[in-house]
Structure formats: structure tokens, C-alpha cells
């Protein structure tokens, strides 16, 4: 899983029917120290994350294992909101 920060939302009226009701968020990847990276991706939110939350994003076919995403055309899902990240000193 990668770490990201929620930076926006996506609204799409015409989409795959299995995505109806899914909350799509734009996530910017961040490093463990909280620094923004250049990549952005669209992920389905399953944990009610909000703007600026630091989140855990699962990608690939594993994303379909998240709650409510079985058999949906999804390759990235937000599965956790990070409260705290403890990292050893370099």
C-alpha cells in the first residue's frame, strides 16, 4: 500500500454502472515524512476520507478486496485514514 493525501474529488455522471454510488477522490502520493510527491491518482474511497486526510491506498486487483468493491472495475482504493506514523530515525 502507498501513502497519499486527499487533494480533490471527481464527479462523473456517466460511468460504469458498478461505480454508481462510489466516492472518487484524487490522491497525491506522499513520502513517509509527509512530503508531497508528483504523482496523482483517482481512488475509490471506502472509509469516508476527507480533504487533506493522509490515507492508505491499495492498488491493483487487491483494491477489489475492499468493502463493497467486489467485482467493480477499480484498481485503486482508499482503505485507511492514517492517524499516526512512527518512523525510525535515519
Amino acid at each position: 500500500m502507498i501513502l497519499g493525501r486527499v487533494v480533490g474529488t471527481v464527479v462523473a455522471t456517466r460511468k460504469d454502472e458498478r461505480l454508481v454510488g462510489a466516492k472518487l477522490l484524487i490522491v497525491r502520493t506522499v513520502d513517509p515524512y509527509g512530503k508531497d510527491e508528483a504523482n496523482h491518482l483517482v481512488a475509490v474511497d471506502t472509509v469516508d476520507a476527507g480533504l487533506n486526510d493522509r490515507v492508505l491506498v491499495v492498488s491493483g486487483s487487491s483494491a477489489r478486496m475492499a468493502q463493497g468493491l467486489k467485482d467493480t472495475p477499480v484498481d485503486a482504493a482508499i482503505v485507511g485514514v492514517v492517524d499516526e506514523l512512527e518512523i525510525e530515525k535515519r
Binding site: P32, L56, S62, M65, V79, V81, V82, L85
Partner: protein, 88 residues
């Protein structure tokens, strides 16, 4: 599978139910020289590893398999603790 070092822990109280009580650890992939190679990722622990230990982890869909029959939504799982390794 890749060799990595556990460099930290992640706490998330709001998370997918499938992640349950599994420990979320920050792992730094290592190169053959034992030095950091690439970006750290977050992996679910299945073997009881801790910060500072060398481990190996599996990526992709197979990362959910150690937890069967539970359905854990993860794309990275620690599946072993490295005692030692050598290259000839």
C-alpha cells in the same frame, strides 16, 4: 518477493474492516548491497515482525493470501523474517 527492512509503524483507526487488527508496517525495500532501494511502502504483517528487522514481502494480489479465509484488502504483505542472507 522482495527483501526489505521494517522502518516504522502506521496507525489508522478508521480503516477497512478487512484490515482488522493486523499490524501495518512501513517497509523500505533493500538492494543486494543491503542499502535502501526505492520508495518505502506500507505492508500488512503476517508473521509478527517488528521495526528494525529484515523481512521479505509479497506484492500484488497474492499479498492477501496469507490471511485466508479472511479477505484482507492489501497489495503488500510481510511473509517472512530474514535470519540472514548471502550472495555468492
Amino acid at each position: 518477493m522482495m527483501v526489505a527492512r521494517v522502518i516504522g509503524t502506521v496507525v489508522a483507526s478508521r480503516k477497512d474492516a478487512g484490515l482488522g487488527a493486523s499490524a501495518l508496517l512501513l517497509v523500505q525495500p533493500l538492494g543486494t548491497d543491503g542499502k535502501a532501494a526505492g520508495k518505502p511502502i506500507v505492508a500488512v504483517d503476517s508473521v509478527g515482525s517488528g521495526v528494525g528487522e529484515q523481512v521479505f514481502y509479497v506484492k500484488g494480489r497474492e499479498a492477501a493470501l496469507p490471511f485466508l479465509p479472511a479477505e484482507v484488502p492489501t497489495d503488500a504483505a510481510i511473509v517472512g523474517i530474514v535470519d540472514h542472507w548471502n550472495l555468492s
